[in-house]
Amino acid sequence: MWKFSVRRILIMIPQLFVLSLLIFVLAKMMPGDALSGQIDPNIDPERIEELRIEMGWYDPWHEQYASWVGGVMKGDFGMSFRFKMPVTELIGQRIVNSFWLSVATLILTYLIAIPLGITSGRYNDTFRDQLITGYSYVGFATPLFIFALVMLWIFGFQLQWFPTSGSVEPGMQPGTFDYFMSKFYHLLLPALSMALITTFSTILYLRNEIIDTKQKDFILLARSKGASESRVYNQHIFRNSLLPIAAFFGFEITGLIGGSIFIENIFGYPGMGQLLIESISLRDFSVVTATTLLFGVASILGALISDIILSLVDPRIRIK
């Protein structure tokens, strides 16, 4: 497994390389640059030109790319033009938020999806099941951003149960328990909104898995041992059905990245998704390349994590 992971990571290096090249070229093709936003009669256009030259904007793109790659090799992703700080540091600030948002979303997703999926699969074709699958289809059909807006409106403003923007109460001391709670409180509503919409695939998947597993021979064997229904479900069916869900885990990460762009925007939550969109629009290219690269790494790692989890929990794969 160790070898397997290393190999996967080695494969991902050329992929990331091509990805970075693509992103870089695309970025260069886009109109405007980080200084387009500085158009102002009282800023000297010559100063802007000077800065462009300093930034290397007029160098041939491959030279820029080479120097960028050179920096990345040394762990230096350059400076954010907009934030005037090293990209690494900037992302460091944001990634924590995104990370916890994702974790909370995942946990909520599973907290919601697993019981529903299990109920639905165990009692398939009953009223309960239809109710749950019905919810799943509606969830499938609801655009995330409309749902999130409605959630924000109801729970944030009408009921005022949750804060409506930011990632933490102003003035909290990092490291304190209050700070932690405040962070948690802030990410609850966005995470819940995203989770409620993303559960549906997990529910349906789990349901199918359970219905599938129910008919396996080893379930019959378990029954013939005299295992009660609840034991059959708890010991045999659920364990086996949850396995692919566990494997799904890594792939969820890719989905989360997409979803976070909407969610962070709506809930004013300063994370990576928001950073990416802002940086593209404001042509803060060093941030764009670093962020997309990071997302790429996250997706690949997600897939890798899936494989690793699967190989950890599934003995059939473990041996290979």
Binding site: F218, N240, I319
Partner: protein, 339 residues
């Protein structure tokens, strides 16, 4: 004398297809005695597996009528908890495909241990492990300590089947139902497994229901044989009787169609027509009649019953008296054998 462990009376197990129920096991009566192997033979679709599942109460959506008496107590329709006390403790089952019959995510020890755990709560963990290892030894698995920790996919087919058997016999059940236990195995393994089952039977003194389509296996294993066709039992007899004097046309056809390693045949017998599907079973008259069209209709009973020809030898329908192979009349007949 034979002690009746299991007595099946007029069992009818029906499945729902579309909006109707169709009986896969139709009015079957049988009994299984202590220290006896009862073989149930038939081709696929004859209802032999459905019968086995009925005995174990494994059908979740079937309608069951009739009685299955275990030591005189009816187990049809009893509560799930009662059934669970019976299953695994008094009745064990061996499945056809050892590949799918084991939970891929559980180590061997736990799978066998589960059977112990469910019926013997007093056992401590270490005691349980000890017993499991004994069981593994008993079914002939070498290096039992090591196998205990292994997962099913790490074992060969034969080994897995031994594990399944160990699970089935964990609580020394009085009745063991083996549903095609060797079909998926190679012949050398098959003989080992059969020997194992035989030994266990001697050991535990239990009654075994052996479901199979392989007449060779029957000849090797059975004390008594029940031949099933289309959900019904068409013939029951002691094994030697049946092999020496098969009476029912179906039994006879079956014997004649097996290529035999020990004798030369140029042509094998072919049973005309095809095995009817559950929905298309002829429900009236002799169910085998359509497949022996050269036998005059009047030879069949209107409502075929099992007739006891000799003590312990039952045959259904009177057509056996008039049966003869068409080859004996016309050699060409089987060219036709198509619907």
């Amino acid at each position: 004398m034979a002690e009746k462990l299991l007595e099946i009376k007029n069992l009818k197990t029906s499945f729902r297809i579309k909006d109707d129920y169709f009986a896969a096991v139709d009015d079957v009566s049988l009994n299984v005695n202590k220290n006896e192997v009862l073989a149930i033979v038939g081709e696929s679709g004859c209802g032999k597996s459905a019968l086995a599942f009925s005995i174990m109460g494994l059908h979740t959506r079937a309608k069951m009528e009739g009685d299955i008496l275990y030591k005189g107590e009816n187990i049809v329709g009893i509560s799930a908890s009662k059934l669970n006390k019976l299953r695994g403790k008094h009745m064990g089952m061996i499945f056809q495909d050892p590949l799918t019959a084991l939970n891929p995510l559980m180590i061997i020890g736990d799978q066998i241990g589960e059977a112990l755990l469910l019926h013997n709560k007093e056992l401590s963990k270490t005691q349980r492990k000890e017993k499991v290892i004994n069981l593994l030894n008993k079914v002939g698995i070498p290096r039992a300590e090591y196998v205990y920790e292994q997962f099913p996919h790490e074992l060969s087919g034969g080994m897995r089947q031994r594990v399944v058997i160990a699970t089935a016999i964990a609580n020394e059940p009085e009745i063991l139902i083996a549903d095609e236990p060797t079909t998926a195995l190679d012949v050398t393994i098959q003989s080992q497994i059969l020997d194992l089952i035989k030994d266990l039977k001697e050991d535990m003194n239990s009654g075994i229901v052996l479901i199979t389509h392989d007449l060779g296996v029957v000849a090797e294993m059975a004390d008594r044989v029940a031949v099933m066709y289309a959900g019904e039992i068409v013939e029951i007899a002691e094994v030697t009787t049946l092999f020496e004097e098969p009476l029912h046309p179906y039994t006879r056809s079956l014997f004649n169609s097996v290529p035999n390693a020990s004798e030369e045949q140029d042509r094998l017998h072919v049973i005309q027509g095809i095995v009817p599907s559950l929905q298309n079973l002829p429900r009236n008259g002799c169910r085998f009649a359509p497949r022996i069209p050269w036998i005059d209709g009047s030879a069949h009973e209107a409502h075929p019953q099992l007739h006891e020809i000799k003590p312990g030898h039952f045959v259904r329908c009177t057509c056996y008296k008039h049966f003869h192979f068409p080859e004996e009349v016309r050699k060409e007949e089987e060219h036709h054998g198509v619907s």
